[in-house]
Symmetry: C2
Subunit: 152 residues, 2 copies
Amino acid sequence: MEHTTAQHPDDLAQRLADSGLRNTPQRELVYKGILARRDHPTAEEVFARAKAEMPTISLATVYNCLETLIDCRLVRAVHFERAPTRYCPNLVPHAHFHDSKTGATHDIDLPDELLSALKKLLPAGYTADAIDITYHGRCAGEEKPENLKTQN
Amino acid sequence: MEHTTAQHPDDLAQRLADSGLRNTPQRELVYKGILARRDHPTAEEVFARAKAEMPTISLATVYNCLETLIDCRLVRAVHFERAPTRYCPNLVPHAHFHDSKTGATHDIDLPDELLSALKKLLPAGYTADAIDITYHGRCAGEEKPENLKTQN
DNA sequence: TGCTTCTCTGGAATCATTCTAAGTTTAGGT
DNA sequence: ACCTAAACTTAGAATGATTCCAGAGAAGCA
């Protein structure tokens, strides 16, 4: 459970340096693509955003960069069933609400009490490093958005 | 959130009939394979168990039967990251603890209070049909089991 | 019995992701 | 400045779980 909040492109260089990694244009671009909108993009979507600025960037590089960002704890991977992995720059512990109609994803903040209540459910000897929580349902007033290029 | 408890091979015929589906040897076998052990097998593992009794059964059929069992609410699909889907005959609302060393999976019962506390976190207008909760961590006293054919 | 529908099956197809091998860049040491 | 090793990027091949497909089998019922 990591509470650090970065959220800013400038933090990237620092975090990379801390991990003994290099700051590259590709990594900046990928991070920027995730930070640009809080819409939990897939690798393909990040790829598309990056490509707009650097047409030569490859999908493999996007995957590599995403992996790096996760290692640096600047980004979290989010999974819904076996759908393509989504990437999230919100580092505060939170759950995800997944709208089954529109496919939109919303962050839900988790109070500390709730997290510790969850941990209390574990039998003796069990240690949780992380708890993933996903709500599946519908949120009113959110019809399928006209422009869903980056949604779903 | 479905609370019905079936857990017995005999319930299969009834549930299938209720859904207007046929009871077939393959469906019985697949269900039996999941009920046999509470070890959250993958489709491949269920396939292996079924094949032992019916060598002609195909993997596609196992996938079909699993889908059917899920539709009948006799089985739940469980996902850990993008690893192969696992299948679970425990229908009582519960979370999963995933041991990151051994890969073993344990059910964790969820008190109703906790589920309603979780639902209270949702903004107005959000309705959750289901909440998936997964713990990632280690449980003491469980070294990598000697025989891990069906684990991990 | 014959037809229609539901199932099963093997193999091909899909698709996100990872791997590979080769080319490029970079930080340091000289 | 120059060289080298290590870190990066890239395109394309490979992987692997799952789904699709088209044909063959059973089962219910008119």
